[in-house]
């Protein structure tokens, strides 16, 4: 039975995610520009780009199949669904029983499969090159992501994200070494999954290095706008999962209105700090060779597995 207040909270969260996601991306870019001693385009720049792209005409290749047209919508739907089941403001989410942490990883995998297929659909060299690299990064990142989510769910005996967050906020202050390890692993994975610097460079169109950009080269107009928005949403959702699992303080329990209102400034503050940290990581590290990516993601996997083992040894 879905209550009205829960439904309202749920819809507010989804709307908030879609609205805040470009701002987060703009904030990360702005921070990066500041660190490079540039003035930066402002945090609303992604909105301007989106408006421009939505106004433009979408051009399709002659040999584009329906899959190519459908992919931007599938991608966007996947990311909205992911945003719906992650506790962003409160834990009373009517949609969250629909999918737990494992299904969430599945949703991301679905989006990845679709965009890779669409990239290969046109038959350009860059598209399939990007798709292959994306699949390689994906298959290495997924186990590490799952393991770090499992560590959090082992602590709270549930794979549902809402329950995990509820458990973590309710418990009195305890140091979980396992959660710290899982947090580092999760950060590494989310940098890789969101096409950020150690693995991919979001601001380059150099054909030797690009992964995500190579896949969306053939898109234009509203399709490209939707893909850009989905990428921003993905970053937002990943940040929110990180916040929910590793810094859950301030997320409202249940559905009381006051808690939700108070959770918003907490979320914005945490996202601002997280975005700054992400920009800092990107500034301090160099993009690595694609063949170093297995090593990087292997380290993330190792950390996540260590987190689980340490949980069994020290915390049970």
């Amino acid at each position: 039975m879905i209550s009205w207040s829960g439904l309202v909270a749920q819809l507010t969260e989804i709307l908030l995610a879609v609205l805040l996601a470009p701002v987060l991306q703009g904030w990360v870019n702005q921070c990066r520009a500041w660190m490079q001693n540039k003035s930066g385009p402002g945090i609303l720049q992604p909105y301007r780009t989106l408006r421009k792209l939505f106004a433009k005409e979408a051009v399709l290749a002659h040999n584009a199949s329906p899959l190519f047209r459908a992919t931007p919508y599938v991608l966007f739907a996947c990311m909205v669904l992911a945003a719906a089941i992650v506790p962003i403001l409160g834990t009373d989410l009517p949609f969250s029983p629909a999918a737990d942490a494992i299904a969430l990883v599945g949703i991301f995998a679905l989006a990845r499969v679709f965009i890779s297929l669409a990239a290969m659909d046109i038959g350009t060299a860059f598209g399939s090159l990007g798709a292959r690299r994306e699949m390689m990064v994906g298959f290495l990142a997924e186990p590490a992501l799952l393991m770090s989510l499992f560590t959090a769910s082992l602590i709270s005996h549930s794979t549902s994200l809402a329950t995990i967050v509820q458990h973590l906020t309710q418990a009195h202050f305890v140091i979980y070494p396992s959660l710290a390890f899982a947090g580092v692993a999760f950060t590494m994975v989310s940098l890789a999954e969101n096409a950020r610097i150690p693995v991919d460079n979001p601001s380059t169109h150099l054909e030797l290095t690009m992964i995500h950009e190579a896949m969306v080269l053939e898109y234009s107009g509203r399709h490209l706008a939707l893909i850009e928005l989905s990428a921003a949403l993905k970053l937002f959702v990943y940040s929110c999962i990180g916040i929910a699992l590793f810094f859950p303080f301030g997320i409202a329990e249940g559905g009381d209105a006051l808690g939700l209102v108070l959770a918003l400034p907490a979320l914005v503050a945490k996202l601002a700090v997280g975005g700054f940290a992400m920009a800092l990581i990107e500034m301090l590290s160099a993009k690595m060779r694609i063949f170093r990516a297995p090593e990087y993601l292997g380290t993330a996997f190792l950390l996540a597995v260590l987190a689980m083992l340490i949980h069994f040894l020290l915390e049970t």
Binding site: T299, L306, I310, L314
Partner: protein
Amino acid sequence: MHLSFASQIINLLAAILLLLSFAMLTQRRILSLINLFALQGFTLTLSTLVVAWSTGQHHLYYSAALTFALKVLVLPWVLHRLIRKLNVKWDVETLINIPTTMLVGIVLVILAFNVALPISQLAGTITKSTLGIALACVLLAFLTMITRSKAVPQVIGFLAMENGLFFAATSATYGMPMVVEFGIALDVMVGMVILGVFFFQIRERFDSLDIRHLEKLKEE
């Protein structure tokens, strides 16, 4: 689970120690390896201090001071000097397939945890659950020694193994008697000096620190 704050800190430090062991296992550069070793010594000092403070065992303060002096200051300094003199400061070692090494390391950790679990249940100390981590550190340091082909990283692996043993001693029995501890410290020190002399001998004889040359015993 309801652990005291001190034992939570010790658990955290134990986890960091394990992490550093893995970092040493996968580190290519000798210089970073030495820094990691010093960091491991520092973590060990902190954990010994916390154990000493929470249990009121005074002799542990001395052993923490000894650890700090020996493993954070003297040995890293000697190693730094050594690699500068041997001119291997920027040496990069090609390791066998790092992800594979890490997977082997994880298997070792699982093994160590399983072996240590029944033992640590018998112990009555507040740090009993860290025995598995100490054992894992010893095994990982052993693996570090096995996978290296140059002499200096092998010695660092050997020293890291001693770190693991020391941590095992503190976690299982609140440290060894002072005499034994001094003895081990002296052993490590002397071992380091002798091995330092060996390094120069090996290099003089073979023009390299790769110990695979030692496998050939024929006169040429």
